[in-house]
């Protein structure tokens, strides 16, 4: 039994636990790679690392890791912005007006469970291969978390906040900008964070569509065709890292700007 409950002791134990599994995975990976001795199934750690520590080196004429990651990010940002611009106003409308809610709800409920990737063939048929298709698929992925959280956030705005504003002389538009939006902002932001995560997953998948010739998803797919397993794994790690960083940035804003939601009793 460990009876060390001091802060330092707890911290040490916690950080120790945090690194336990990654270390085990790396060691296990290396052991299996040595035993298998087949780089087309599981390459040695060092070959993956050599791809990761040289992110500006061209890979098989497909461009380097960083450039491809940036291309993917640009696509996801484009799709994410389109989704945000559509989902937030619709969510506010549905949250504020029963009529708007009635009109849109059934269609939204029907579309919501469809996996974004199910739209791939339709996207290709409608928009051909290219940015528009990707934006469409990414947008589909990001749209619903943003919509549902906006709706939730708007509905969660305290009735008395709105009433107090109305009595203080707020017009309908001012109630929206001064009460509904700031009051729902933390929940909307959560929706955007979740939406961006899904969008990021979608872009990688969208880039695996036939005919694509750039982006981190394409790089992985193309490396598979060339038997470059180290690049596949390096690409997957980059995808994960970017996901973590973006999520962290969203959380950073959440903590600094929407502190009040946590502290409000």
């Amino acid at each position: 039994m460990n009876h060390d409950f001091s802060l330092v002791g707890m911290l040490q134990r916690k950080s120790f636990l945090k690194f336990l599994l990654p270390a085990a995975i790396i060691v296990g990976w290396e052991i299996i790679a040595i035993v298998l001795d087949n780089p087309f199934i599981l390459p040695r750690l060092e070959s993956v690392l050599s791809v990761l520590i040289n992110p500006t080196v061209d890979i098989l004429g497909n461009g380097n890791l960083i450039d491809n990651a940036i291309i993917s990010l640009e696509r996801v940002v484009a799709g994410f912005i389109v989704a945000t611009v559509l989902a937030i106003p619709l969510g506010i409308g549905m949250g504020r007006s029963d009529t708007v809610h009635e009109v849109f709800d059934s269609v939204m409920q029907l579309l919501r469970p469809i996996p974004p990737l199910a739209w791939v063939p339709l996207a290709l048929a409608w928009f051909k291969i290219g940015l528009v298709s990707m934006v469409f698929i990414i947008g589909m992925g990001a749209f619903f978390p943003i919509l549902l959280n906006t709706l939730d956030g708007v509905r969660g705005v305290k009735k008395t906040w709105v009433e107090a504003a109305a009595i203080l002389g707020a017009r309908e538009r001012q109630i929206l900008t001064h009460v509904i939006l700031p009051g729902a902002a933390p929940t909307i932001w959560t929706g955007m964070r979740v939406g961006f995560g899904i969008a990021w997953m979608c872009v990688v998948a969208a880039e695996m569509m036939p005919g694509t010739n750039s982006g981190i998803g394409y790089l992985i797919m193309s490396s598979y065709n060339w038997g470059q397993v180290p690049v596949i794994i390096a690409g997957i790690i980059v995808i994960g890292l970017i996901g973590i960083v973006v999520d962290y940035l969203f959380k950073l804003v959440e903590r600094s700007s929407f502190k009040w939601r946590e502290l409000e009793r």
């Binding site: 305290k158 009433e163 009595i167 001064h178």
Partner: protein
């Protein structure tokens, strides 16, 4: 200023067809600068009455007139204070106080000045840049009171404003409210279910019956302020009110 509640009734729809009476034929005439307490048990419709006066709800029949004009929507002559304070947690105390002025397009400098003055009136100097979640319940309600006052309403409507506070804080705020009332000369309509609170605060107590609420009696309390809660006169009024609310005419409709 005169505020007249004229043959006001309110019914609510209950599962579609049936309606239930919430308020029946309320008639009250309120004079300028008066402190009125509306006293009644939970569910008697006293909050509904206040919300109708605020223009947040409309009466089924009858009307509320301020200076001869019927109220049918939120009116800038009214200021409302809610039991849950209803401060905006993303705004600082100063920004909360100046909110009404901001909505009216008053410039930042002037807003800051007004906020500062009302902050002092609330006894919260130095807390202007704090956020509501950094304040105690009593302090929050003080902010809510001056937020309503900052746009200079004629009537203050207070919906069980001290109901969520502990007894000590509550007594303190009652005392301070009377001081603010004295300084600002507002007309106050104060909803409460506490007999003690009503006797301590009011010029007149409007006693409502349980649902459906109607006025069973209006009691004039003309003891000078500050009132001593432990005095014999205070106890007399208190006993009278307590007896009254157990009388048949105040328990049955």
């Amino acid at each position: 200023m005169t505020l007249i509640i004229d043959h006001l009734s309110k019914q609510f729809a209950k599962n579609g067809q049936d309606t239930i009476d919430s308020l029946v034929d309320i008639n009250v005439e309120i004079r300028d600068g008066e402190f009125i307490c509306i006293l009644g048990p939970s569910g008697c419709g006293k909050t509904t009455l206040l919300r109708i006066i605020a223009g947040l709800e409309s009466p089924t029949t009858g009307k509320v007139l301020i200076d001869g004009t019927a109220i049918d929507r939120p009116n800038p002559k009214m200021g409302m204070i809610f039991q849950d304070y209803s401060l905006y947690p993303w705004r600082t105390v100063n920004e909360n106080i100046a909110f009404g002025l901001e909505l009216r397009g008053v410039g930042k400098d002037q807003r800051d000045e007004v906020a500062q003055n009302f902050l002092e009136l609330a006894g919260l100097s130095g807390f202007g840049n704090s956020y509501p979640y950094e304040l105690s319940g009593g302090m929050r309600q003080r902010v809510a009171v001056v937020r309503a006052l900052a746009v200079d309403p004629t009537v203050l409507l207070m919906d069980e404003p001290f109901g969520a506070l502990d007894a000590q804080t509550r007594n303190r705020l009652q005392h301070d409210l009377l001081e603010i009332w004295d300084k600002t000369k507002k007309t106050i309509l104060f909803v409460t279910h506490s007999v003690d609170e009503a006797v301590f605060l009011a010029d007149r107590i409007v006693v409502l019956t349980p649902r459906p609420g109607h006025v069973c009696e209006t009691i004039v309390v003309d003891h000078p302020r500050p009132r001593d809660r432990t005095s014999v006169e205070f106890a007399k009024v208190r006993r009278y009110v307590l007896d009254l609310i157990n009388q048949p005419q105040c328990t049955l409709q």
